[in-house]
């Protein structure tokens, strides 16, 4: 087995046991990136020198017999909407094409404290708005399982980099499915934590009340490993973060009640995806889980509520990009208004402008109650419905995406079709719940299908346990040879 194919847990063990140096791992990862990223296009920035310096530092720690963090020497790719001090953080937008933050996101500080090596920053849909990674201002990332298809979005770069074995781990962010959908389409594991479990400080905001950073990996253990490193309250920087002790995974899932909500298996979900997910649910049953049918009727409104709330917040969060303080700056030879208008009209891509417009509209005078407030009330209703459902079951199983990876370009000109790809995932963000996507087989074209498991708030350990037991039963998840 090549180094680059190994899990993070294994690499970290090997570094500790001095079987391999962090420098060797890093060199190997950089070589792998160079070899396959031409095809996959996951990375926006690769910082080989910085990564090697960092690896050398880890090796010094090893040599000195120092305490090593849980990610000692492990390469972790970071989504390019997560701030890295001294390294460009572009959000895949022309607007921040030259932005170099003078600060680290809390999760990046935590990665570094855990001994991780960051080889570079990975692609996304501009400002994390999109479901295919095609809305990047710089390039479209490809799905390693079929290079003519999208990796999903918005954390498409993170998913593709992990799936193509460029890195064992990546950080993504999930506002409406942006970790889980690409994880599902690329056949890897992606965890969207409970809202407030991971600090958002340094995550460039799309929709503040929905955004969460989470781990993406090829194995459940690795996802759990990375999650353990990044979770926890950040009182100094993020008032919405909450104290959380991650208990770790349990041994089995005997007696776990798995709820199947019929609303997630209706029209719009492909037959092959349905079949794949139901097969996985049968596998869970075989492992001792109990399967019960449940109903989440408000789900049909979740997508609308999601687009209202997320766009409203985005319209405000993205107002700061005005050409004055950082990033792209438009016409300076005219009035202040000319500078503002040219900066924003030239700096933002089409989808971002679409959402800013929608968000501005739903907050504007006379429409606030009808749209924003109503969506917030609906959000409460959806959360209450989940609470009720979790009195009957422990986890909820659904497809991650309604279909497998689609062709590049297929949905670019159809915003509604693109929005519909989030139909199974937005509810978790709306209700603040944790959700995980694990691979559950392939469709007839050999494209990965994703199983989504949702749990009550702070039930990450339970979700990972179910995922881990499933993974073990399947003898591990398939990795694409490239």
């Amino acid at each position: 087995m090549n180094l680059y194919e190994k899990s993070a847990a294994e690499l970290s063990r090997m570094v500790r046991a001095k079987e391999v140096s962090a420098t060797e791992i890093t060199k190997d990862a950089l070589a792998r990136i160079e070899a396959v990223d031409l095809k996959v296009d996951a990375f926006l920035t690769v910082e080989a020198e910085k990564a090697l310096d960092r690896a050398a530092w880890v090796d010094e720690q090893v040599a000195a017999g120092k305490d090593l963090g849980p990610l000692a020497g492990v390469p972790v790719a970071v989504k390019d909407n997560i701030c890295t001090k001294g390294t460009k953080t572009t959000c895949a937008s022309k607007m921040l094409g030259n932005f170099i933050p003078p600060y680290n996101a809390t999760v990046v500080d935590k990665l570094l404290a855990a001994g991780a090596v960051i080889p570079g920053k990975v692609n996304l849909d501009e400002f994390a708005m999109g479901g295919s990674c095609e809305n990047s201002a710089f390039k479209a990332t490809k799905n390693p399982w079929d290079l003519t298809r999208v990796p999903g979005g918005s954390s498409g770069g993170s998913a593709a980099a992990v799936a193509a074995c460029e890195v064992p781990l990546a950080l993504g962010s999930d506002t409406g499915g942006s970790i889980r959908c690409p994880a599902g389409l690329c056949g890897i594991v992606g965890l969207k934590p409970t809202y407030g479990a991971v600090s958002r400080f340094g995550l460039v905001a799309f929709a503040s009340s929905l955004d969460q950073i989470g781990p993406m990996a090829r194995t459940v253990d690795d996802a759990a490993l990375l999650f353990r490193v990044i979770c926890g309250q950040d009182t100094a920087h993020d008032a919405t973060s909450k104290p959380f002790n991650f208990a770790g995974m349990g041994p089995d899932i005997r007696g776990v009640r798995v709820g199947l909500p019929k609303e997630y298996f209706g029209t719009g979900v492909s037959e092959e995806v349905k079949a794949g997910v139901l097969k996985a649910v049968d596998d869970l049953k075989a492992l001792g889980a109990q399967v019960i049918e449940i109903s989440l009727p408000s789900t049909r409104y979740a997508l609308s509520a999601y687009y209202i709330i997320s766009s409203a917040e985005a319209s405000s969060n993205l107002a700061r990009y005005d050409g004055v303080k950082y990033g792209y700056s438009g016409r300076r030879d005219g009035s202040l208004n000319d500078l503002y208008l040219s900066t924003r009209s030239e700096g933002f891509g089409r989808e971002v402008k679409r959402r800013i417009m929608l968000g501005t509209y739903v907050l504007s005078s006379g429409y606030y109650d009808a749209y924003y407030k109503r969506a917030k009330m609906l959000q409460r209703a959806i959360a209450a419905e989940f609470d009720e459902a979790f009195s009957q079951c422990d986890v909820i199983a659904t497809p991650t995406s309604p279909s497998t990876a689609f062709k590049l370009g297929e949905k670019v000109n159809d915003p509604l079709a693109m929005y519909a790809t989030d139909i199974c995932t937005t509810t978790a963000n709306i209700a603040g719940l944790p959700g995980i996507s694990v691979p559950c087989g392939f469709d007839s074209q050999g494209l990965p299908i994703g199983l989504q498991l949702l749990g009550p708030k702070w039930s990450e350990a339970r979700l990972l346990t179910v995922a881990k037991c499933y993974e073990t039963a399947k003898g591990g998840f398939a990795v694409k040879e490239m």
Binding site: S304, L336, L339, L358, M377
Partner: protein
């Protein structure tokens, strides 16, 4: 529903060519139709969430950033200040 692209664009500080605006208008008709598909909800008086509260920060000083770092990304700076086109308000 009425969607005045020009008015919203003004609020959002964006400008569109006539062509873009026309395309937007069409897309928006669809998107707004989608988001309008919301049921009537009993409207609470406020959006307070007393069951989900935050902690407050102590009033303790944390050193500010050096000015070079603060200004490092500024497109146009002079004399330690950020420069914008002349405005009087």
């Amino acid at each position: 529903m009425e969607f005045d692209v020009k008015h919203i664009a003004k609020l959002a500080m964006l400008q569109f060519t006539a062509e873009e605006a026309a395309a937007f208008e069409k897309e928006f008709a669809q998107i707004v139709k989608m988001v309008e598909n919301l049921p009537e909800m009993e409207s609470a008086v406020t959006l307070l969430e007393p069951e989900n509260q935050m902690e407050l920060r102590e009033d303790a000083v944390i050193p500010s950033y050096p000015r070079e770092e603060i200004l490092q990304n500024v497109p146009h700076a002079v004399a330690g200040c950020i420069v914008v086109p002349k405005t009087v308000d």
